[in-house]
Symmetry: C2
Subunit: 262 residues, 2 copies
């Protein structure tokens, strides 16, 4: 679709959204020892933000978040969970003159029939429900929305300044992840179907921000009996090829309910 068509269809959609409510998604992926999150760069602006969206009058907020996630990644059946709702008085575009300028630049380059209506929409105070998703980076094909020129992964430890309170959101999610690591399907969601034990350990290390003992980690994980070991692969190096594992989902989920233990 062209920009113009997109602009017009968005403008029409505005009436179908609940006013004053938005969802924002912290979409986390993992690659080579580093956690990444999906961010959008606004068109012709040096402004980055989390993927977000609005809630249709006839859908649940969970559904709205899922829709956003799906539109930015093309994926379905992704792990997605609400973590906190943000409703401070600071959540308004006109909070700063910088934001107001951004809004003007935005309006100037789009093709809205009724610019006033769109501007008013964005100048509402939004209560935003924060969600986080876990997925395998290799599966996702980041897709920008019509207000953005780029949708891309960034290392969570090298994020640009983000719109409004979006940095705080990411910070809160990472905190949450650390607290809940033993109760979340971290491995299953962030890794490909088959992976090595070192991959799994690296994720835990990335989230906990500390290194773990290989032997002890392996012993604990294997003792929980939710990994299935496959025929070896992962060739190409002059050493013993690491085993590949996959999750026995049924057992894994049961283990997670009890927690994997500190």
């Amino acid at each position: 679709m062209t920009d113009e068509k997109n602009s017009l269809s968005f403008e029409k959609e505005l009436d179908r959204f609940l006013p004053g409510i938005s969802v924002d998604c912290v979409i986390l992926g993992y690659n080579e020892g580093i956690l990444h999150t999906l961010v959008l760069k606004w068109k012709n602006l040096d402004v980055w933000s989390l993927p977000g969206g609005f809630v249709f009058k006839n859908e649940s907020i969970d559904n709205a978040a899922y829709r956003v996630l799906n539109q930015r990644t093309g994926l379905e059946n992704v792990f997605l969970k609400q973590f906190e709702t943000f409703g401070g008085m600071n959540r308004v575009w006109n909070a700063s003159s910088k934001n107001q300028h951004m809004m003007q630049v935005l309006m100037d380059q789009m093709h809205f029939d009724n610019q006033h209506k769109v501007k008013n929409w964005f100048q509402q105070r939004f209560i935003s429900v924060g969600y986080f998703a876990l997925l395998n980076m290799e599966d996702a094909k980041p897709i920008a929305d019509f207000l953005s020129e780029e949708c891309t992964w960034k290392r969570v430890d090298e994020l640009p300044e983000l719109l409004l309170d979006h940095s705080e959101m990411i910070h809160k999610v990472l905190q949450h992840l650390r607290n809940q690591i033993n109760y979340l399907p971290i491995g299953k969601e962030l890794l490909p179907k088959k992976f090595t034990m070192m991959d799994l350990q690296s994720i835990h290390e990335a989230i906990l921000q500390k290194s773990l003992d290989r032997g002890n980690f392996q012993r604990k994980i294997l003792s929980l009996k939710f990994l299935k070991r496959h025929e070896k692969l992962m060739l190409g190096a002059q050493n013993k090829a690491p085993y590949l594992y996959s999750f026995n989902e049924k057992v894994y989920m049961k283990s997670l309910q009890k927690g994997l233990g500190a």
Copy 2:
């Protein structure tokens, strides 16, 4: 204030609220081994609900929840925390004919200038942000709002059927409490200033729904060094008077950040 005045002032306030957003509070208190929560009975209706309210356009959602809590209990400086936001499509009054009937009974007995406006307000779909509070039951003087004939404590294990998804909210809070018991100022908030070790243990037992070994519980708690032992009191029985303890708040809060351990 009379009912009529209350009705009219509420009606006027409607314009100052954010549309489609509400807060609901699960206010928890503890007494004699049992957790209680504050519920409201709607006027001349066999309908119970959690204390809730709406969000002024110029206040944060945290503030709105705090205002509701304050108005129902008369208390300030209470522990209050957001736990989850509820935004399913089922969150509408006209979901059932029973609800619609309730609304009619409600309207008939109130004195609104513009009944239509008020009715429309309540027939919105609300996204509700759930909060929970912990407080000492003896401090609070439950105060009904102008739509309710009663505001009272009920044992959480003997709750009446509640409006909309309010039962689910309480269920979720209790679950959350069990998970977070080692990180929340349970004792400080739910107990009076001075209490016995058995009081504290009973709260933990009430939340975890299982009995704990007295000796071990005492040893662990005392080892964390956040309790101050007072001159003995608690007289009146033909036995050794239990010691009274109080919290050294500074140390207690530090312990909670690390967690009290499984």
